[in-house]
Symmetry: D2
Subunit: 150 residues, 4 copies
Amino acid sequence: MRKKSTKNKAIPHLSCTAEAFVMIHEADPLGIVWHGNYLKYFELGRETFGRTFGIQYNEILEAGFTTPIVQLHCNYKQALKYGEKFSVKTTMLYCQGAKIILDYQIFNTKNELCCEAETTQVFINLQSELMLIAPSFYEEWKRKHNFDLE
Amino acid sequence: MRKKSTKNKAIPHLSCTAEAFVMIHEADPLGIVWHGNYLKYFELGRETFGRTFGIQYNEILEAGFTTPIVQLHCNYKQALKYGEKFSVKTTMLYCQGAKIILDYQIFNTKNELCCEAETTQVFINLQSELMLIAPSFYEEWKRKHNFDLE
Amino acid sequence: MRKKSTKNKAIPHLSCTAEAFVMIHEADPLGIVWHGNYLKYFELGRETFGRTFGIQYNEILEAGFTTPIVQLHCNYKQALKYGEKFSVKTTMLYCQGAKIILDYQIFNTKNELCCEAETTQVFINLQSELMLIAPSFYEEWKRKHNFDLE
Amino acid sequence: MRKKSTKNKAIPHLSCTAEAFVMIHEADPLGIVWHGNYLKYFELGRETFGRTFGIQYNEILEAGFTTPIVQLHCNYKQALKYGEKFSVKTTMLYCQGAKIILDYQIFNTKNELCCEAETTQVFINLQSELMLIAPSFYEEWKRKHNFDLE
């Protein structure tokens, strides 16, 4: 089991923030968000990232690929409660090769870090083959968004 | 962000298996389980572990504690599809101190490993304080279940 | 808004029962199942019905149809709590025409009725057209299962 | 099984609208929202109603009551797809007695009605007793919001 995270550098300009509040069905009998529901908040972050930077699932699919998550690390620091507002900051991490690595930070209204996570996605073509080098549409996307500039 | 997993040893006799199948609302537009839904399968594993070995949330709560998950690592290897049967094998990992570390392995009917994960839980008392040493009820549970025997 | 239910007769031999228990992420801050999660239990009932009587989504799809739910009525009578075991009894209701009507009853371990519901499904072909008469595969299925016998 | 809806009149000024988009984990293998997930959208509507008009779950709880849903009717008209934006219009219906009846309408961006529903909630006090007459805090809320004015 590969368990280490990437420790890769964040790309500050490839970052965006979404806001939401905790719904009653996301909170458990202790009144706090069930740990698995944070993955919906990361999904909100990833979706917002895709909408902001033109790299949604549908756009990737049109280019002929899917990008399944192959690895997830998550640290829970402070529980969000039913009704609480929060923000999800999603930032792309620098990496070489045919992968997308995103970092997520969830903050409450006091700006306290409640949860942070990292996901790694790979590229699969329509024949279900793993891409060993990044697809050209993604290389183009990276150039357009100054992925390599620091 | 602490991202390394524990690499702790499994305790073979503290292990159990649950079985289920993929429901339609757990599969995404690609027909495969949305990655976040595996956490429900791990929850099924953890719940089954608690029922099997007498350490369910309710029993922990009666002893005066909650055991929130503070860390999760997950590797996705092969997607489960709608309708597919699978098993979740949940195994306790050996660790010293006031923590519960569980390992999860999800297998399809061909006995292929589809997903594996590890969660770390801590003990919080009813005053919301983190326990630095394991509560006595848990030490007793460990003795009863030969936690330290190899 | 069409709101009346069918009041159709149950077909006693087209009935099956599934069992499960309430997971922690299905219970809300009051410790009881969030009302929307009962629809997952009805889905379990419908899936079990499909497996038992050979009319699963995949089998319907192979015949060239989908069967979306167009109407749902649900009465909540008694809340299930986290950890509680329950059963879902799913029964087909008699109806003429191109529809599938199922009735669901959820019982706790004291055999008290906790929740009952009814869903109506229609047949849509692969050109997204609503079928006004039942597809032949379904007529065949009804004959095989003595749908019309009382 | 009581299945008829109330056919009660809408109170036009007790109405509000929330907006969201369909997340990937809410869509099923057909690419459309799983029917049970619309209840999360109604919950979003109800929560927004509570925040707009000062009658959230927490406020009701502080007054000494919970308001469980005892009945739900839902008509599905047109499926929302992954990524689609939609709005939920939530409107209170006029009724006498100790009940809250809400009506929900979900519209896509073409302003087509995709789904409509109605929920009935009752008042339960902290001794788990059903209120046969509306609690005074709710009567006050109704006066403040001109519930009876037409």
